[in-house]
């Protein structure tokens, strides 16, 4: 009986989207949107979802942030199920695992929930749109380029990543390895990929281990905000400060002290708030029937302007920004 009700409502939702097939031009009011970050305790995720909440306020949607307190592969599942049970219009999530969530996301899709991933993608079949903070290839290559400059294109380098399974990290690392194949990096050698599990203490000790184990280490890339700040904190008090270059992805507030004391010369990031903001606009546009997720469709994202849906439903926020001593004080997030 209940199942039938659910089916009916799903059908009704489907019908309602059909009836607006002529692509309405405004976002519907009162949309119900769930924002599901990787981990509600991660400050990066907090900034990201705050951007989403800001966007929701602008468009008159009812949005909420829910999520697990650990970044385990399966801990997001119950929140997806809840979104289905609560008949949300759209779900915006940063996936902890590219595959583990697929069946549940598909179930949500069938129930009429629009799925937008941000930051860390699932397989293409699991979502309609993916908001990429920056082009993965660009991020990976740019970080190697930056580090190459810092170490003079010579010496051992290492990567301090998040969890071994993090989709985004692994994609970037893949592109870093591609970039390193270019002839100008022939004197740079990637000796180790360490995993700090996005855990501050673990990242800290991993950094320490890298420096201990590889005496010729010249540079470290940490493409995660937790890793780079923990790594910088270790470096700032260790004799290797100034001898080992550290770069990667970090937030200005976390890194300010280390840039100023010379531990870190430069690092990169996009504005995480913008990621959530854009994702929420994209989700609302989908739920209002303004777009369907096909390549080439365009939508407006408030203060960020107009965006175009790329291949495989990917929307790129923009290139990463490089922070250094000269510009860091202009940012507060």
């Amino acid at each position: 009986m209940k199942k039938r009700i659910l089916l009916l409502s799903a059908l009704a939702l489907g019908l309602s989207t059909l009836s607006f097939a002529q692509a309405p031009t405004t976002i519907k009011k009162g949309l119900k949107i769930t924002l599901l970050p990787k981990n509600i305790n991660n400050p990066y995720n907090v900034i990201e979802t705050q951007g989403g909440l800001d966007a929701a306020k602008e468009i008159g949607a009812v949005a909420k942030v829910v999520g697990p307190s650990d970044a385990g592969a399966s801990s997001q599942v119950s929140y997806i199920n809840t979104a289905i049970a609560q008949r949300q219009d759209a779900l915006v999530l940063a996936a902890n695992d590219a595959n583990a969530l697929l069946p549940y996301l598909n179930r949500a899709k069938q129930a009429g929930v629009k799925i937008v991933t941000m930051d860390s993608d699932t397989a293409v079949s699991g979502r309609t749109l993916f908001i990429n903070q920056a082009n993965s290839e660009g991020i990976g290559r740019a970080q190697v380029q930056l580090l190459g400059k810092l170490v003079g294109y010579k010496g051992d380098i290492a990567v301090l990543s998040a969890t071994p399974n993090a989709t985004n990290q692994n994609t970037w690392i893949k592109w870093m390895q591609e970039e390193l194949k270019l002839p100008r990096y022939k004197d740079m050698k990637l000796v180790k990929i360490a995993y700090g599990n996005d855990d501050d203490q673990k990242s800290f000790t991993e950094m320490q281990g890298l420096i201990q184990a590889y005496p010729n280490l010249k540079g470290v890339i940490s493409p995660t905000t937790v890793g780079i700040s923990a790594g910088a904190r270790y470096l700032s008090t260790s004799p290797s400060k100034g001898k080992v270059a550290l770069t990667g992805l970090g937030t200005p507030n976390q890194m300010r002290a280390f840039v100023k004391d010379g531990t870190v010369t430069a690092f990169q990031l996009w504005n995480p708030g913008d990621v959530g903001y854009l994702a929420t606009y994209a989700a609302a546009s989908l739920a209002s029937g303004m777009i369907t997720g096909k390549q080439g469709e365009t939508f407006m994202a408030g203060k960020l302007g107009k965006y175009t849906v790329g291949k495989d439903g990917e929307v790129v926020l923009g290139p990463p920004y490089t922070f250094d001593k000269a510009n860091i004080d202009k940012f507060d997030f």
Binding site: N41, N45, V46, Y195, Q201, F204, A213, P215, A230
Partner: protein
């Protein structure tokens, strides 16, 4: 007095018990030297000043927690909640600094001790007065204290940049090349080791764990002793939380999670019996150091990252198995000694 005459010199043989325990600690030191020197031969950097300093800093927090855990283990109880206490104490101390950047460091340490003591007294009340088995009670408070931390933190984070320089200086500072944190941990360890060995109160921990009914009959207030043990374990964990904050600077809601098993492992490797009544703090401290050295050696020897956990688990199993075999042989010898 005809059938069993007493040889006048019979009890002159020097301390059976202490000899046995010495053997235990000697073997730990031996193993420690073996691992350290072995690693150093392959990679001399292992014994460099910076590397040793980092190692000691890493071990100091575990070593501190082992002190409290040993008190509880000696009484045949266990305190799983220490990791959550560390987390809550680290975060709340950090928040206190954010609110009052001028707070002096000793006050922060006192705050950690006090908060830990309060949390420890919850465990103590449950175990000593509520008669809840320690494993159940502290597994429960492991969840509860961590949940409170999540609720208080709610996605926030304490960053090194929010902490006053005086406190960070305390965390990174050293006296004669020995880091402050290490000094503090060693001082607590030695103090309690002395107390456990040479004071009536300290001996009561052994008595309670060895035979709690007999302890009651010997006039020991077992309930109060149990309570004290848990309060001390909590207080030490609270202090460790402050040191955690000083060491790592950045603290979020998951700070310290999972430490409890490492701490118990260190104590067990160090010869503290989970059946109560057996073990010394010297051994437990050495156990913590040994595990730390092994972990660090694996990194230095460039053991593949994915192998490290497996190797650590295997080493822990080997340590407790060898310990069991050695102590069993010693017990047998004791029995035979008496017979012959």
């Amino acid at each position: 007095m005809t059938e069993r005459s007493v040889p006048a010199s019979a009890p002159a043989s020097p301390g059976w018990l202490s000899r046995l325990l010495m053997a235990r600690e000697v073997s730990l030191v031996g193993l420690l030297l073996l691992v350290t020197l072995g690693t150093a031969v392959i990679n001399p950097l292992f014994l460099s000043f910076g590397s040793v300093r980092d190692l000691l800093l890493n071990v100091s927090i575990i070593a501190l927690l082992v002190v409290g855990q040993t008190l509880v283990l000696l009484m045949k109880h266990v305190d799983l909640s220490v990791s959550s206490t560390v987390g809550l104490s680290a975060f709340l101390t950090g928040s206190l600094f954010v609110a009052n950047p001028g707070m002096p460091v000793p006050l922060a340490l006192l705050f950690g001790l006090g908060l830990g003591a309060v949390l420890g007294s919850v465990n103590g009340l449950l175990v000593a007065y509520g008669k809840v088995p320690a494993l159940v009670a502290t597994l429960g408070t492991l969840y509860v204290f961590r949940g409170i931390t999540y609720a208080v933190v709610s996605g926030g984070q304490i960053n090194a940049s929010n902490l006053p320089p005086s406190f960070l200086g305390f965390g990174t500072g050293s006296v004669l090349g020995v880091p402050n944190l290490v000094l503090l941990a060693v001082a607590v360890l030695i103090g309690f080791a002395f107390y456990l060995r040479s004071y009536r109160g300290g001996r009561e921990y052994y008595a309670v764990g060895s035979n709690s009914e007999a302890a009651v009959l010997a006039g020991i207030n077992v309930t109060r002793r149990t309570m004290t043990g848990f309060v001390l374990s909590g207080a030490i964990a609270g202090l460790a939380g402050v040191l955690y904050l000083a060491r790592f600077g950045t603290v979020d809601a998951t700070a310290g999670a999972g430490l409890e098993l490492q701490v118990i492992a260190a104590a067990v490797v160090g010869g503290v019996s989970i059946n109560g009544g057996v073990g010394t703090l010297l051994g437990a401290g050495l156990g913590a150091l040994l595990l730390g050295v092994m972990g660090s050696a694996l990194v230095t020897l460039r053991a593949p990252g994915f192998y490290q956990q497996a190797i650590q688990g295997a080493l822990l199993l080997a340590a407790i198995s060898i310990d069991m075999l050695v102590s069993r042989r010693a017990a047998k010898r004791l029995q035979e000694e008496r017979k012959s």
